[in-house]
């Protein structure tokens, strides 16, 4: 299913001019510069072709003939594109000058050998340039030092297109693609036809820095233990060469191509890509739900979409039955493991997202808190020191699945959260912040089926909730009584109050009497405490995990509570 959906995606993108998806035999590469020549092959300049984005210069993505260069020390020149080494015999800080020269010679010879076959003025110009070029001349072009290591292409002065886009050259290239006559035919499990079977599925999926060469394979059988029935490599999973190219290229577009900025989300170690059956605006802003970036242009449509979804309405003008595919991948050695795969409709996904935001909605602690926190922001709260690297590995993928399918949150979410809350009890900032409160409410509501509210609920008589509230009031009383205490009761007692109330609260209540007498509004606090204790019969010896969660939520609600009008008896 996965490969088939990607295969269909390729067919859809290939028809879309703006998608710039490479046809069979071509690939998309990051091009940094262009060698501009006259029609006679004289060098005009080495032009910078990078896009400027703020302070950075990004190479543009172009479709070029041939596949990504294989890694390793072999000399393998590409056709009409390559690095500065091959194109010009130049490498910055060259420690192997012989190899660089050898690379250039190989590149030049390869192209000159084809001079007779390709009857095209642009190609002739390139050949003339290569014949005349001396690597030592490279020093005259300061740009090369900047782009050394990047890829370049050729361009003829006065023409808008690059040399490899010349129709004559393209026609020749397509005719001379390596044929697959020597590959065995088999049943392609994507298309259902008898075709030559790919031995290796090319191109590799780029955009995974944890994999060697930043690219992994979704389907690979590189070790003997992975093969079955004596079949080698790709014969273990018959896919035709063309179908393999299509699905790999489509996936590459999502993970690493122009669309990856919108359609790829990185949550923890899992990269999630998504697409719809037909082109739709949803593809543009859906990623922002999980991982907001600076794309301010999309935020308005995103906000409208989420508000509509949370209220249970179908957003805008999108066809509700449009198929929606979500694929989660994570790197493992040189391979990509499928974390989850979900096919749904836009309507269904909207409902699930709406339900998810309803589940996690709590009152804000300050006005800058986002109304729709992203999954990244939430998961960060489960990480040690709030570092993205420390998010528990399987949690990210599992959370994503829960959000999209409406299933309960992963079982270890609550323990991890409580762990973090307890570990950070002594600190300048509150250990139960807005994001953690969101997660707590979500998990208590969805997993434990408790009735928890968004803001302070004085009618909630659950003793864990009341104790959390009580703790917040006690903390406030202390803060009002003692200016800048060295250690607040939260620093010292939060963990034990939350886990073993029976041991801690009598002590705290004894302490608070001193604070009450000292504090300015002590009497008011005293009455607050009495009101809460009214419904507490006894302090439990221990609180269970979900009760500790409720404690934390009660604590948060009480802390955030700001009375909206003046109390009548003042």
């Amino acid at each position: 299913m996965i490969l088939q959906a990607l295969h269909s995606l390729y067919d859809r993108l290939a028809q879309d001019e703006s998608a710039k998806v490479p046809p069979f035999g071509y690939s998309t590469q990051k091009i940094a510069f262009a060698i501009v020549l006259t029609a006679e092959g004289e060098l005009v300049q080495i032009a910078d072709r990078r896009d400027v984005e703020g302070k950075r210069r990004i190479p543009i993505q172009l479709t070029v003939p041939g596949q990504t260069k294989p890694s390793g020390s072999g000399v393998n020149p590409c056709f009409l594109w390559d690095t500065t080494q091959y194109l010009l015999g130049y490498k910055k800080d060259d420690d192997k000058p012989k190899r660089t020269t050898g690379a250039f010679v190989a590149f030049r010879d390869k192209h000159l050998a084809l001079k007779k076959e390709i009857a095209c003025p642009a190609y002739a110009a390139v050949c003339q340039f290569l014949e005349a070029w001396k690597p030592a001349d490279a020093a005259k072009h300061p740009l090369l030092a900047e782009v050394s290591g990047g890829f370049g292409v050729f361009q003829i002065l006065g023409e808008r297109r690059y040399v490899q886009d010349d129709p004559v050259i393209q026609e020749w290239w397509v005719k001379h693609l390596p044929t697959d006559d020597d590959e065995d035919t088999g049943f392609c499990l994507i298309t259902g036809e008898r075709l030559p079977i790919a031995r290796l599925h090319e191109p590799a999926i780029k955009g995974f820095p944890d994999c060697p060469s930043s690219s992994g394979k979704l389907v690979s059988f590189d070790k003997s233990a992975f093969r079955s029935h004596g079949k080698e490599r790709g014969a273990n999973a018959p896919v035709s060469i063309l179908a393999a190219f299509k699905y790999c290229t489509a996936l590459n577009v999502l993970t690493n191509g122009a669309r990856s900025r919108q359609q790829r989300i990185q949550i923890g170690d899992a990269a999630t890509v998504f697409w719809t059956e037909r082109a739709s605006p949803i593809e543009g802003f859906f990623g922002l739900v999980f991982d907001a970036r600076e794309d301010t242009g999309q935020n308005e449509s995103l906000r409208l979409f989420l508000e509509a979804a949370r209220d249970g309405k179908m957003p805008g003008d999108v066809d509700p039955n449009l198929r929606f595919y979500i694929l989660g991948l994570s790197p493992n050695a040189a391979r990509l493991a499928v974390r989850f795969w979900h096919i749904s409709t836009v309507e269904d996904v909207s409902k699930k997202i709406g339900g998810y935001f309803r589940d996690i909605q709590v009152c804000k602690s300050r006005d800058t808190d986002p109304e729709f926190p992203t999954l990244q922001q939430l998961l960060r709260e489960t990480a040690v020191l709030r570092k993205f690297d420390n998010i528990p590995p399987l949690l990210a993928g599992a959370m994503m699945r829960s959000v999209l399918t409406g299933l309960p949150f992963p079982n270890n979410l609550l323990p991890v959260l409580l762990d973090r809350i307890r570990a950070e009890q002594a600190g300048e900032y509150s250990n139960v912040n807005y994001f953690r409160a969101c997660l707590l409410k979500g998990v208590l509501k969805r997993n434990n089926k408790l009735e928890v509210s968004m803001a302070l609920d004085t009618n909630n008589k659950d003793k864990a909730y009341l104790l959390g509230r009580l703790f917040a009031v006690l903390e406030r009383t202390q803060a009002e009584a003692i200016n800048k205490p060295n250690a607040t009761i939260r620093d010292r007692f939060y963990g034990s109050a939350s886990a073993t109330p029976c041991a801690v609260f009598p002590v705290l209540l004894r302490l608070v009497q001193h604070h009450v007498s000292k504090a300015e509004y002590g009497d008011f606090r005293d009455r607050e405490i009495a009101a809460i204790l009214n419904d507490v019969q006894e302090f439990p010896k221990r609180l269970r995990m979900e009760e500790q969660g409720l404690f934390a939520l009660g604590y948060y609600h009480q802390r955030q509570y700001r009375p909206t009008s003046k109390p009548k008896e003042e």
Binding site: M1, I2, L3, Q4, G186, F187, L189, I190, G192, L218, V219, S220, F221, K223, S224, A225, F226, S228, H229, G230, K231, N236, A237, P238, V239, S330, N332, A333, R335, L336, A337, V338, R339, F340, W341, L394, G397, A398, R401, L407
Partner: protein
């Protein structure tokens, strides 16, 4: 022949591995006919009969989960087996074996996307390929064993780690919770053991939780 059997099978986990996602395993959404055949053969099989799966009823909603397992990357070499047989040399492949630099040689952690809480009813019949054409004999043996829980080895859902609980269904198959028609794409039907174990695929379509495994749709 005319005798069909119905067997209800259920378990906690299942992994009907897709051939293309074999390393980092991803399961098909439903049981493959070849896995169903494996379950039946675990309960009762003789070289004289050939099990043919007709229909698979999917009873529970399709749910996935992720697990990671530590496995080995290499197969034991044939010459090591030879040496063990002839000269009594030790034969083992240790997952924590390190090479001279201290790196683990064979350990590979593989992720798997497996099914959770599965329950199926397998509708199948057998064909006699050799020997006496005594359908009743084979049927009785199967029925008795299925009733008593007899099996040559514990049947499994795709991987040996996922055991199967089974029970004979005497009446009609129970209704499935799944509704509607679903196209599951090309699914592995079975391996053609006569033709160098080439994989055979069929177009899987599930209607209201029932997967039809008719052989004539098989392409290879």
């Amino acid at each position: 022949m005319a005798y069909g059997v119905k067997l209800k099978v259920w378990g906690d986990y299942a992994c009907f591995t897709r051939p293309e996602m074999k390393v980092e395993r991803v399961s098909y959404d439903v049981m493959t006919p070849s896995a169903a055949r494996g379950i039946l053969e675990a309960i009762y099989w003789k070289p004289e009969i050939l099990w043919v799966v007709d229909r698979i009823h999917v009873l529970n909603p399709i749910r996935f989960t992720n697990i990671r397992r530590n496995e080995v990357s290499e197969v034991v070499r044939l010459k090591n087996v030879d040496a063990a047989m002839k000269r009594g040399e030790p034969l083992a492949l240790f997952i924590d074996e390190t090479d001279d630099d201290g790196k683990l040689k064979y350990r590979q952690q593989r992720a798997a996307m497996v099914l959770r809480d599965v329950a199926y009813v397998i509708e199948a019949h057998f064909e006699i390929v050799s020997g006496e054409h005594n359908d009743g004999k084979h049927l009785d043996q199967f029925t008795r064993r299925a009733r008593e829980g007899g099996c040559y080895h514990r049947p499994y859902f795709g991987c040996r780690e996922f055991p199967v609980n089974f029970a004979l269904v005497e009446a009609d198959a129970p209704a499935s919770t799944l509704k509607g028609e679903q196209d599951l794409g090309w699914m592995l039907h079975d391996l053609d053991y006569g033709n160098s174990r080439e994989a055979q695929f069929f177009r899987a379509r599930m209607k209201d939780g029932v997967l039809d495994c008719l052989r004539q749709e098989v392409k290879s």
